[in-house]
Symmetry: C2
Subunit: 564 residues, 2 copies
């Protein structure tokens, strides 16, 4: 891996020089060679590589490809046509293709019978080094998993690298093992959901539905999948617990349900990218363009992780060498890489941590999209650590080495860009900061003057079990504030540090005389008296996570002319 | 007490009407009676009563009286002279005075031989109901304690209530028991300290000294006393632990030091009012006008509270009925009311809570100003709960009933004023929010252009053991940001949730070409990714606590003319 990185470094250097040449020539210049034409995208290799590393990881798909497509559309379309018409290319056997697996030998892949030398593309691949997993082989199984590739501009980009055709015999073999759509067995979803990405499935409920009930119905609970939903047979399901002195503990679903007391916790889960769309308005970020509803609240039941760890041999001595508890999902990509994340050991084993191995959501079996048959629920902690379709637990001195723990779900300074980011410099997001948003009225809605007052509703929540103790609402963009009424749960009901569930809130206020527009703003305060930052710009970060500035909506006050 | 409150309510109502009359008449009108003249201050009784309740509690003295003095100066001074010259007033005996202890009978007090009917003043007394403790008696012992009363405008206000003279015989008796200054045995203090209040003593170090060392020398560690420093004899000192099944556990200093393992914790303490002066600039608040240095960092050693509670019989069963651990100081006012506060039981008994009964600070015996011989250190928690001169610990189902727990040290919405505030609506401050400030350069300093760069230094800290993971610094008022280098402690050194000590930070940046002035801003991020709010206005609150908006200083860039 180190070797690959070093090679990519050298590549990048060479490309920079080539790019500098290219940008100084006109894009329609016929004097540039076809090889140079391949580099007619701007050479921001480092940026793409890091920035879109989340793509193969299933994140950032929609937005990133939006950017890419735009770029592709700006290209000279005739160039593509020229290449596609390109005369007789050589025929290669699969064996010849397979010998091009490394940067030193050139990296070749096949796609629908074509052979492509993508050596120079490796360094700028949005999905990062993972493209090398397809080296010497066929792209189709990968593209089936990451359906975002199946777009015209991606095919156009690929066509520029075509060097030959696969022999008819080998093509036939490929077709006989062509994969089915790995998402074909994903469950049905509720039609009300607003879909951010179909494959993998990511969707949020309409905000006005979100705060209709304190407990979010499972069907509209926001969905955030990184990979296809795995099909798990409950009878053969086994949970493996490793890393402890007694060796591996293996539990069937039945054992998990019967050997440990069933605990129930009402906990709000929030995606790190909730409200990312507001950061996107400041400056483009990489990631799914979530609105304000990548957050939901449910009742979860299952065994306590603490109890399972105790049964597996966890004792006070473990804390001397272990610092983390890692989780592996059963959802995997074509290379067999599973989703993974970890939490701090003290959260996992604390009686007050309330970490569950949940098999029920809102009193029913976990739905497929939410981790059937077993998921981790880590109250107060970012959604990404609440691993679904849980297959393995590992007590360890180390954090999870997964992409999602190491190179994603971290916050950076607004001054940090994809060229300067050092993912080791920031801690993996665990507890989330205080958050709130207005769900009613919607931005751009109108209120009639004759109604005399306006009712504003929303949600508020904070990570780490810190209870929301107050929500301030302003109708004038933050000049004056009033205190909203908190609903659900009731202030002070949860033990200190264990307020895992959100507060819904509401305020009804008279329409200010003379105003034609309201700028309604909300901000929440948690039990540590942390408050939300005023504006998005200074908390902007390249991954668009932790978007918790004041939320605001503009509402027009209309005059009902029928009354005149 | 309930009765008193009800009476005060009625009083207030009557006063409102009187005040309305008065405000409609010219202040120089000679037609208003001398009784009416007493009400020539604006009738904001509720405001004063609540707002300055902290005064008798030793808080808010300087500022509040600043406001009061200003008002008094606006009064017609000749009026006062008239009253002082007022001819033969009746002579009263102490017995007669003593019969006026209740609002129903009129409330009388004496002061230097004068007799005053302050019945109508009770409702507007800045120190609240506590004035009734002096009813029927002499003011001097109280004013000796709260030296803030000994100011000209206070005497002027009092003079308006004079109704007679105390008999010579009773005056003589009073003088024979006149109290000495209760602050006379307060310790010597370091001359570098910036004094906010002498009696009780409240002072902070100069900011530029503060960040000269990671561990603040005890002599310049900020001092925040509510009452005179008690003189405690270490030989007869006893710590009482109550509220547990086994009855009272009493420990001598020697027993505390020898029966329990000695633990050492480096922890930053911060006053809830740190940076209050910035809130004052937005709108006046009640409280000591702290700058940015009501925060310091020290090493504390002592017995763990958890260990002492275990020795006193604390077991898991206690958590079934107890929720709080109350602390009582040995510092007391003339009525025998001691300083008091409480923390949540789970913080007190958690192994990870690191709560100490400290007898050492920075490796030496606790200094008198910091609680000799024993104080509580509650890492991650507002200074006010770190009770000094600890006399008593009480495990309880209830929070401390003290003024400081119930009616002070709480946060409110910027829209809440002294007329609408309901202290029961907000939780007592425990963990503090994320904080940072710039200590160098000072606001208004100049940097010479020839130096080419500027070095900015400061501190950053967050409550609840949440480690500061990043400090962003801007030279242009928040438009662009760079990441400061964190010093001391080292990121990631503390176990998760136990980062009790601050981070000092530093950044050196080139002076921007063309700028004549820098607006240097800092903001910190903690391990829960909580950030500081951008501006002070929206977090303004009537007590001026929790002032943690971005800190900024303006620095002029001067051109060195000698080089021209």
């Amino acid at each position: 891996m180190l070797l690959i990185r070093r090679c990519l470094g050298a590549q990048r250097h060479a490309r920079s020089a080539a790019a500098a040449r290219l940008w100084s020539s006109s894009s329609s210049s016929s004097s540039s060679s076809s090889r140079d034409q391949r580099w007619r995208h701007r050479d921001d290799g480092t940026s793409w590589k890091h920035g879109l590393a989340g793509l193969l990881a299933g994140t950032g798909a929609v937005l990133a490809y939006g950017l890419h497509r735009q770029k592709a559309e700006q290209e000279d379309k005739s160039r593509v046509q020229t290449i596609e018409k390109a005369s007789e290319l050589p025929i290669f056997t699969q064996e010849e293709v397979s010998s091009h697996r490394r940067l030193e030998d050139g990296v070749w892949v096949t796609y629908k019978g074509g052979v492509y030398d993508i050596t120079e593309f490796v360094g700028v691949h949005p999905g990062g080094d993972k493209i090398l997993l397809a080296a010497g082989g066929d792209l189709e199984p990968f593209w089936a998993l990451y359906a975002v590739h199946k777009q015209k501009h991606v095919l156009e980009m690929l066509s520029a690298y075509k060097v030959g055709e696969l022999s008819a015999q080998d093509r036939k073999k490929q077709q006989s093992v062509a994969p089915s759509d790995p998402y074909s067995s994903d469950p049905e979803r509720h039609p009300a959901l607003r879909v951010n990405s179909l494959k993998p499935f990511n969707a949020e409920p309409p905000p006005e539905l979100l705060t209709d009930s304190y407990i979010t119905p499972s069907a509209i609970f926001f969905k955030r999948n990184h990979l296809p939903v795995p099909q798990v047979d409950p009878a053969s399901y086994r949970l493996h617990v490793e890393g402890l002195a007694r060796g591996v503990l293996t539990l069937s679903l039945e054992e998990l349900k019967t050997r440990f007391p069933k605990h129930t916790v009402t906990a709000t889960l929030q995606c790190a990218g909730n409200r990312r769309s507001e950061m996107n308005k400041v400056k483009r970020v990489k990631g799914l363009n979530w609105g304000i509803a990548a957050i939901s609240n449910a009742t979860w039941s299952g065994a306590r992780l603490r109890d399972v760890l105790l049964a597996a041999g966890y004792g006070p001595d473990v804390a001397k060498w272990a610092l983390h508890v890692q989780f592996e999902g059963l959802d995997e990509d074509v290379t067999g890489t599973t989703y993974g994340a970890s939490i701090h050991l003290n959260k996992a084993v604390s009686e007050d941590g309330d970490v569950l191995l949940a098999y029920e959501m809102n009193g029913e079996e976990l739905p497929a999209d939410h981790g059937y048959p077993v998921r981790v629920v880590v109250p107060g902690t970012v959604g990404a650590r609440n691993v679904k379709w849980l297959g393995r637990i590992r007590v360890s001195a180390e954090e999870s080495g997964s992409h999602w723990q190491q190179n994603d779900y971290k916050g950076f300074s607004p001054g940090t860009d994809w060229d300067t980011v050092d993912f080791t410099s920031a801690p993996a997001i665990q507890e989330l900061p205080v958050q709130s948003a207005i769900t009613t009225p919607a931005d751009g809605a109108a209120v009639d003057r004759s109604s005399e007052e306006v009712t504003v509703k929303g949600y508020a929540w904070s990570g780490g079990g810190r209870e929301v103790v107050r929500v301030d609402v302003s109708l004038d963009g933050g000049e004056t504030w009033q205190v909203a009424e908190l609903k659900g749960g009731g202030t002070g009901d949860a033990p200190p540090g264990r307020a895992w569930a959100w507060k819904l809130w509401e305020v009804t206020a008279p329409l200010p005389a003379g105003s034609r527009e309201l700028e309604i703003v909300c901000k929440a305060v948690d039990s540590s008296y942390n408050m939300q930052p005023d504006t998005v710009g200074p908390i902007w970060n390249l991954r668009g996570v932790l978007s918790n500035a004041w939320h605001s909506v503009r509402v027009e006050i209309t005059e009902d002319e029928s009354e005149e």
